[in-house]
Amino acid sequence: MTRLLPGLAALAFALTLWQAIVWLTGVPHFILPGPARVGAALLNNAALLVHQAGFTLANLGMGLAAGITLGIASALNLAMSPAARVLLRPLMVFAQAVPVFALAPIVTLWLGYGAPSKIVMVALVTYFPVTSAFFDGLMRLPPTLDDLTRQMQAKPLRRLMLVQLPHALPALGSGLRLAAVQAPFAVIIAEWVGASKGLGHLMLISNGRGQTDLMFAALILLASLSLMLFLAADRLARHWDRRV
């Protein structure tokens, strides 16, 4: 409750400021609608918004699940196998240097306007931060623990699961935080490049039709979803931070 109160106050302040700007400048509502108008658009189009958000959220979830699962598996594999490190690490560095968002048109060209292109974009964008953060955590075992596992003649897989992995959970948490921030971008960009459904698609068409209030309503919904996703990732990451 004590944490919620300042947030609500900040929100009220922002809404007041927004309304004040609209009143004082007299800007037309198709350029900048006031918060009341956007609130009305949110309520009047609730069914449409929920339907579109469902599509976006489903793709976001599936893409995140795929990206995170593959990222964790890759990091574990890289940590276990020196051969994999030699082969794949330069590729990883190269892949990180490529702006993944720029791949959206190609991914859409290959996979079409439906859900698969969105899922793949989200997976691509989340895969790299998760892999690289988790892999770094796995490899950065403190020397004292490294000495200990050596002294105990640990089997490599046991060492990985019993010592390296628990030690790397906070690093994985940082990767998940990054992934949670990037994933909504990825799904929206994929929808902008080509889609027939989703919040990003709705924003494009309402913009085209001059329904700026609906566009803002979609934007607010999207921002809320992104925020909740980040808070969930952050909560998990904090839980892991406390354990180590």
Partner: protein, 241 residues
Amino acid sequence: MTAPALQIAGDLRLGGQTLCPALNLTCPAAQWTVLLGPSGVGKSTLARMIADVPCPAHLTGGITASDGKPLDGRVILMAQTDQLLPWASVLDNVTLGARLRGQNPDRARALDLLNRVGLDGYATRRPATLSGGQRQRVALARTLMEDRPIVVMDEPFSALDAATRATMQDATATLLRGRTVILITHDPLEAARLAHHAHLMRTDGLHPLPLPATAPPRALSDPATLSAQADLYVRLMQVPA
């Protein structure tokens, strides 16, 4: 388990520099050999070499056991830091070795060892809830759990307060009986209490140190212990010629 004696010979070198020349050290079987000396002379380095933990230095001679068998897997190092896994319970920390080797951990023995180091009822606690002395006791139980004939201790009690340190010294002397122990320390009192044999390690080599004739662990209140401590202090402060 019969503990062998250890023979350590050669120059301890780091890069092109000699840390300690002409080591010729015998650590008798089932006794405590204490190496006392100033910082930077290579005491910890030597401890790591005996325990076969990677370190940048090397020994021109070698380290051999009196029974002629390789040392591999017969030495355990107890370090200055307790090296406890913060996410694992006390019991899981004590049984870590077996779990890392894929063996079935002997929980009954682990609980018995925890009991013997004075941590009865602490098995499910997390290391973060323990004091420094308790944590070092867990590390001692973990070391004993490995059941190796040769134990190398690198200033294991240096971070503890005086009273806790004295208690730990007594407990360790009792629990490690029958093993060949090499203790690295810069505390003259620790050497005077625990050593069967003590050596001063300096940049000009190893020097044997005099000790009371009584068997360790020597009582803190024994005047002979305290006079040995004073004598070791004086020798520790002498600068090599």
